[in-house]
Amino acid sequence: MMRSLTISPDKCTGCLQCEMACSYENEGVFNPVKSRIKVFVFEQEGRHVPYTCTQCADAWCQNACPTEAIQINAQTGAKEVNEGLCVGCKVCTIACPFGTVNYNQATGKVIKCDLCGGDPACAKACPTQAITYQDANWTGYDKMRSWADKTNTQATAQA
C-alpha cells in the first residue's frame, strides 16, 4: 500500500516540531532553514499551515530536469533527488508550481521532500496529527467520516 503525507492545517499550532525533525533527519542539525517542510503562520487570522511536496504522480520537477536527477522511489512513490546527477541548474525549482523544490547553497544541489524513505520524520514529530502519513488512495477518509457524522440522519432507520 502506498501512502501520502496528509496535512490538516486546522490542527496545526505552529510549533515547528516538523521543521526541526526534518532538518535533523536529513541534515543532522536542528535548523528550520534546512527543512523540506515549512509552516506558514498567518498571524492576523490565527492560521498555521504546514506545506511541503505532495509527490505529484506526473511531476513537473521530474519532467523539467535535464539530467534525470529526479527519480521515483518505487516503494514510496516519492520523487527523490539523486545528488550524484543533480547539477544545481534549478530548472525544477522553476517548474514546480508549488515552490516545494528548493536550492541548497551549501551543497549546490536542490532539496525536496523524499518521504524519509517511507517513515516521514515530520509526521512522527507532529504533536497534534496535523501531519499524518496515510493510505494514498484514502487521504480524504477522515474528512469524509467527519462530514458523514454531521449528516442529519436518524439513529434508527424507519420501516
Partner: protein, 615 residues
C-alpha cells in the same frame, strides 16, 4: 554543545558590536539563560546602580536547549536591574525570537551604555550592527514589527521591540517579541527604552548542535510523550490555556477581587477559559480563534483571540479587528477580577493594547485596581482622570486608561508609575498589592498559603513564576497539600524555587513542570550539553542561582524586612469561600524558610551556605 559559546557585546554608547567567547567556566556552574546571565550581570555591574542609568546593563540570554527539538525550546530571558523594583529582574519569553537568536549563532547579547539617539540592532548570523531608529521612535510594537519586516524584505525576521510606554518611562514596560509574546515583568522594557534601544531584529541560518544527537532525540521523544499523556499539559492547557484556572481559583476562594478586598469574583465565569469558547457578539463567534504554540512547544497553551467588531472598544477601528494574542489567566485576572470588570471583549482589547504598546498587564491591572480604591475614597478626582470615573467594574475606565498608559498621556502617566509609587503619592502605601515594588498576580495568599511565602521571598518582587506552589496546593502536583495550611510550605516553596531556577536556565518552559520534574529535564540536558549533567548537579544549580540573586538584592540594599506582604493579606481576613476568616500566615512560614535556606534570622545567607554553593 547546546551552547554556541558565543556572546555578542553591544556597547550602545560607542556603537560597537563585538563577539566574545562565552565564559564556559561559568556555564558549567550556571548552565545558561537565567543562571548564567545573572552571573554575568552580578560580575559586571554594581547592584546599587540606578536601573535607568547607562551603567545598568541588559542581557538577552538563551539556554543551551533553546532552538533544539526538545519540547518548549523557545525560551529566552532578559536579565537586568528592574526599573519597577530596583531588584534583580529576569523576565522570560517564548514565541520564536529566542530560537532565532540561537540559530544566528549567539547564546547571549549583552547591552551596555546608552545610545545618543534611537537605534535598533540588526543581526543576520555573524553580522550584527546598530542602525538608526529615529523613524521608529514613537511607533508601537506592532508598527515597528511591520516597518522592520518591510525594510529588510525578510518575512522570516524575528523582532523584539518596545512600544511607546517603554520609550516614555512607564515603569512596567515589557519587551514584546513576535507581536504578542513578552518578557513582561519588572520593567525590563523601561530599561531598554532608557538606553534608546527600540528593537532587535534577528535572522539566523546556522542551527543548533547537541552533544549526543541520537541519545538527545530519544530522550526528547520520550519526554514529549510524557507531556502528551498528562491531563494538564496534554488536555487542560491546549484547550483552555492558562485560563483553565479562572473558575478553579475562584471556587477555592483565592481570586483577588477589587484590589484584593475580596477573594471571589461574581463575574469570574464570564471571563474564564470556558467563556472564551462560547459564541457571542455581533457575529455569534467565540472570542477564541485558536490555540498557538511557541517555537518547539508540543503543549500550545497560547491563545489567539478576536474582539467583536461591534464592541465599543473597536467599533470603526479596523486596526483592532485582526486576531492577536488573547487572554492568559494572569492578564484576565488583573484586567478583570482585580478591577471588577467582567466584559470579556473589554479585557481582550486592553490586553491587545498591552501588547501593542508593550507594558505588563499584571502590574497595569493591579495599579488601576489600587487607583479605583483611591478614587472610591475620594483621593483621586475626576479632574485628574480627565473626567473618567475610575469605578470598580467600569470597563470603560479600564480600556480608556489602558490606551492612556500605552502612550503615557494624561492620567496614564500617573498610572505608569505602578501601584507602589501611586499609593505613596496619595498617602496610602498599604493599598499597593506589591512586594519589593512589584504587584502580586492572580492567587490570593489567604486562600493559597504557600503563595504568600512565594511572593514575600521572590527575588524579582511578587511573582507566581518563582515557586508555583499552586501546582501542589490546588492541582496536587507532584502531591496535594492543604492550601489553607502553613505547615510544610517553607520546604515546598524552597524546593519549587530551586527547581524553577534550574528550569529557567535550560531554555525550556516552566509549564512543562506540570508533567515533568527535574528527572525529566536531566536526560535532555545531559545529552545536549558538554560535561556530565546529573540530577544532583541540576538541583544544586537551582539553589546556587537563588542565593546569587539574593546576594544581588542584598548588595542593592534590600534586607529581610523586604520579605513581607501587603498588610491587607496579613491583617484583613478573607470574607467568603473556603478561606473565610483566614489571613496569610507569613510570620509562621518565614523563619522556617530562612532556616531551611541556611540563612540567618535576618534573612542573610550564612558564610557556610555560600561556601557550600560555591558563591
Amino acid at each position: 554543545m547546546g551552547w554556541h559559546k558565543k556572546v555578542l557585546r553591544v556597547n550602545l554608547t560607542t556603537g560597537s558590536c563585538t563577539p566574545e567567547p562565552l565564559n564556559m567556566e561559568w556555564a558549567a556552574e550556571y548552565l545558561g539563560q537565567r543562571g548564567l546571565a545573572t552571573k554575568y550581570l552580578l560580575e559586571e555591574i554594581d547592584p546599587k546602580v540606578d536601573p535607568l542609568s547607562p551603567d545598568n546593563k541588559m542581557i538577552f540570554a538563551t539556554g543551551p536547549l533553546t532552538g533544539t527539538a526538545a519540547s518548549t525550546s523557545a525560551r529566552y530571558s532578559v536579565i537586568t536591574k528592574g526599573a519597577l523594583t530596583n531588584a534583580i529582574a529576569c523576565s522570560n519569553s517564548g514565541g520564536y525570537f529566542g530560537a532565532e537568536l540561537k540559530f544566528a549563532g549567539w547564546d547571549m547579547i549583552i547591552f551596555e551604555g546608552k545610545a545618543a539617539s534611537p537605534v535598533y540592532l540588526h543581526i543576520s548570523d555573524d553580522h550584527a550592527e546598530l542602525l538608526p531608529a529615529d523613524d521608529l521612535w514613537g511607533k508601537s510594537v506592532w508598527e515597528t514589527d511591520e516597518i522592520l519586516h518591510q525594510r529588510h524584505q525578510d518575512p522570516r525576521l524575528r523582532i523584539s521591540a518596545i512600544g511607546v510606554s517603554g520609550e516614555k518611562g512607564v515603569l512596567y514596560a515589557c519587551i514584546v517579541n513576535d507581536l504578542h509574546r513578552a518578557a513582561g515583568r519588572s520593567g525590563v522594557g523601561t530599561v531598554m527604552g532608557s538606553k534608546n534601544l527600540k528593537a532587535i531584529a534577528v535572522r539566523g541560518t546556522q542551527g543548533v548542535q547537541v552533544k549526543d544527537p541520537v541519545r538527545f532525540m530519544q530522550a526528547v521523544g520520550e519526554k514529549k510523550q510524557v507531556l502528551a499523556d498528562n491531563a494538564v499539559t496534554g488536555q487542560g492547557l491546549p484547550t483552555y490555556g492558562t485560563q483553565v484556572l479562572m473558575n478553579v481559583i475562584n471556587e477555592v476562594g483565592a481570586l483577588p477581587t477589587n484590589n484584593a478586598r475580596d477573594v471571589q469574583f461574581e463575574g469570574a465565569s464570564n471571563i474564564s477559559g470556558e467563556a472564551m469558547h462560547e459564541p457571542r457578539g455581533s457575529e455569534n463567534k467565540p472570542n477564541l480563534v485558536t490555540n498557538q504554540a511557541c517555537f518547539g512547544c508540543t503543549i500550545a497553551c497560547g491563545r489567539i483571540s478576536r474582539v467583536d467588531k461591534e464592541h465599543y472598544t473597536v467599533k470603526n477601528r479596523p486596526e483592532y479587528w485582526n486576531a492577536s494574542g488573547g487572554l492568559e489567566y494572569e492578564a484576565a485576572w488583573s484586567l478583570g477580577a482585580d478591577t471588577g470588570v467582567d466584559d470579556l471583549d473589554a479585557l481582550t482589547f486592553a490586553n491587545f493594547v498591552c501588547n501593542e504598546q508593550g507594558y505588563d498587564p499584571i502590574t497595569f491591572g493591579a495599579t488601576i485596581a489600587a487607583a479605583m480604591e483611591l478614587y472610591e475614597m475620594g483621593l483621586i478626582t475626576d479632574e485628574e482622570t480627565g473626567g473618567i470615573p475610575l469605578k470598580f467594574g467600569s470597563a470603560e475606565a479600564l480600556t480608556k486608561m489602558a490606551e492612556l498608559v500605552g502612550k503615557a498621556e494624561g492620567f496614564g502617566k500617573t498610572l505608569g508609575m505602578g501601584s507602589k509609587r501611586l499609593c505613596e503619592k496619595y498617602g496610602h502605601p498599604e493599598l499597593s498589592m506589591s512586594v519589593k515594588g512589584q504587584e502580586f498576580p492572580a492567587y490570593d495568599p489567604r486562600g493559597i498559603q504557600g503563595m504568600g511565602l512565594t511572593y514575600a521571598t521572590s527575588n524579582r518582587g511578587a511573582c507566581h513564576l518563582r515557586s508555583y506552589t499552586v501546582a501542589s496546593e490546588i492541582l496536587g502536583i507532584p502531591e496535594k497539600t492543604d492550601p489553607l495550611a502553613t505547615e510544610g510550605k517553607a520546604g515546598l516553596v524552597k524546593a519549587f524555587q530551586d527547581a524553577t531556577a534550574a528550569v529557567d536556565s535550560t531554555g525550556l518552559c516552566l509549564f512543562t513542570t506540570f508533567a515533568w520534574s527535574l528527572d525529566d529535564f536531566q536526560p535532555q540536558v545531559d545529552a545536549a550539553c558538554e560535561g556530565e549533567w546529573t540530577l544532583e548537579r541540576l538541583s544544586e544549580l537551582g539553589e546556587r542561582i537563588w542565593n546569587m540573586e539574593r546576594q544581588f538584592n542584598m548588595a542593592a540594599g534590600f534586607t529581610g524586612k523586604d520579605d513581607t506582604l501587603p498588610k491587607r493579606l496579613r491583617k484583613e481576613a478573607a470574607k467568603t469561600g473556603p478561606a473565610k476568616g483566614k489571613v496569610n500566615g507569613l510570620k509562621v512560614m518565614l523563619p522556617e524558610y530562612y532556616q531551611l535556606r541556611g540563612w540567618d534570622e535576618k534573612g542573610v545567607p550564612t558564610a557556610e551556605t555560600l561556601q557550600r554553593l560555591g558563591l
